[in-house]
Amino acid sequence: MTGRLVLENLKHKPMRSLLSVFLIAVPVTLILCLEGLSQGMLADSARRARGIGADIMVRPPGTSVLTLSGAPIPEKLVDAIQQKPHVALAIGMVVHNVTNVTFVTGIDLARFNQMSGGFKYLKGEGGPFHGPNDIIVDEYYAQQHKLHAGDQVTDILNHPWHVSGVAEGGKLNRLVVPIRTLQDLTGDTGRVSQVFVKADRPANVPEVLADLKAMLPAYNIYTMEEFTSLLTVENVGGLNTFIHVMVGIGVVIGFAVVLLSMYMAVLQRTREIGILKALGASRWFILKIVLAEAVVLGIGGTVVGIGLSFAARALIQVLYPASLTQAVTPEWWPIAGAISLAGVLLGALYPGMSAAAQDPIEALAYE
């Protein structure tokens, strides 16, 4: 019976109810998108790193798992690593930022192919570099910028590039160019950003790792398994804090929306509260109705918020396929739901307690 009263109350003011649900959904969407983007980008980074086919990664001092700045490693060091026992192949790469989320990688394609097995090019979309100004773009970048093999591109580092091929994603960055050209364009001649190492046999990886750590004590040297395992939200400085802040904002928005919505509802239903009290309804009964109504709004807001997070993901994929990668994070649905419910319950508490404390005679006289 209480459930029917709650549902009828919500149906009685459909616009208020729908607006409340939508407003509660906004922070749920925000939390899910943020967590999805964080996890998606990290998973994408891990996938790309694994796609290289290396066993060990050597990064310069002062870098984190997600950031690379410039090309401070002398190329001679790559040769020195190559000479180490059990090292089958060592290749240096230059990574340079083009826009906020797009990077270009400079490689020696022959050596990269030797390590990774090479790129897989889309059918009819060209192949490897033939000249110093050739560029390979991945399918998502090509889709977003409407590029095909043979096209000319000038908006990358203000250099005239010729698209030699469109490759499947998942290896290196979205843009790949000859290493010498990129070094010359960025003033990094003779230097690389990071070094990838392949051991002659998997069993020798620990030995090579120990050897490199002894040789380069200040460098960040990881096995690829170790590196990809570090690509978590917790290990990215500030990201977890940022997510916590967004979660806090979500609670506050849910709280404020429901506080205003339920406060208005309680005011509008003052006489009805008086009627219930005249019938013998206790304070708890009245509070329960207000809280139950808020919980229904909160559940509705969570469901709509989950739906909107899918809509946001689809929108990003259609409009900007080469930009951020948003993962679907079902493990965060109950968390976002709990955050939303915490907000709405807090928000409903004051209006509910006000309603429960109303004087029945004054409430019945309310016009």
Binding site: M1, R271, K277, L279, G280, R283
Partner: protein, 228 residues
């Protein structure tokens, strides 16, 4: 002689308005035997509604005593008065006061739910619904009912938990003469057939004529009809 159902002695109520004390009841004495249909008349401000509110447990008294079925309700806490409203009294208001979002049937069912009973009415209460003439209107929301029908639904809701007392505050105040007659007939029938004790506030002498006895109030006191 048996003890009256309602026994009121030197009942006083003072409202505080700003810094001024306004006496609403100045020492009311009244006995109401079970199964009586009592009309209370008097000008506005005479204390009729305040008397109702105290008997119905909507507000505490300032002094004196009210005993219902032997229980002194003047010392009840807020929770105690809630229990009184749930089990011992039923209200009928001038403005019907049905919950607008629920059907007539659900308005009756929620009174049972609040009292801790199953929402479905007992088979014998179906007869009361027929007597009230609302059996076929239970699936309609109040907005789809006439004023007379709404008031009869309100009466059904007030008595569905078998309260000792039905308190009707100007039950015909918002009705035309035809519907007023129907509602008053129904109340008299309930009193005669079920022995329902009814206290009715009214300004209408014709309505008061349906009652066994009429009590007149003025300036917070009963001026005539107090003796049962």
């Amino acid at each position: 002689m048996s003890e009256p159902l309602i026994e009121i002695r030197d009942l006083r109520k003072v409202y505080r308005v700003g810094k001024v004390d306004v006496p609403a009841l100045r020492g009311v004495d009244l006995d109401v035997p079970a199964a009586e249909f009592l009309a209370i008349v008097g000008p506005s401000g005479s204390g009729k509604s305040t008397l109702f509110h105290i008997i119905g447990g909507l507000t505490p008294s300032t002094g004196g005593s009210v005993r219902i079925g032997g229980q002194d309700i003047s010392s009840l806490t807020d929770a105690g008065r809630t229990e009184l409203r749930k089990n011992k009294v039923g209200f009928v208001f001038q403005k019907f006061n049905l919950l607008p979002n629920l059907t007539a049937g659900d308005n009756i069912a929620i009174a049972r739910h609040i009292a801790g009973r199953s929402p479905a009415v007992e088979p014998e209460f179906e007869e009361v619904l027929k007597l009230l003439g609302i059996s076929g209107r239970l699936n309609h929301k109040p907005a789809a009912l006439s004023g007379g029908e709404q008031q009869r639904v309100a009466i059904a809701r007030a008595i569905v938990n078998h309260p000792a007392i039905l308190l009707a505050d100007e039950p015909t105040g918002n009705l035309d003469s035809e519907n007023s007659g129907v509602v008053l007939d129904v109340m008299r029938d309930l009193n005669r057939r079920l022995g329902q004790t009814i206290l009715m506030i009214t300004h209408n002498p014709e309505a008061a004529a349906f009652a066994h006895r009429t009590v007149r109030m003025r300036d917070g006191r009963i001026v005539s009809g107090a003796g049962s």
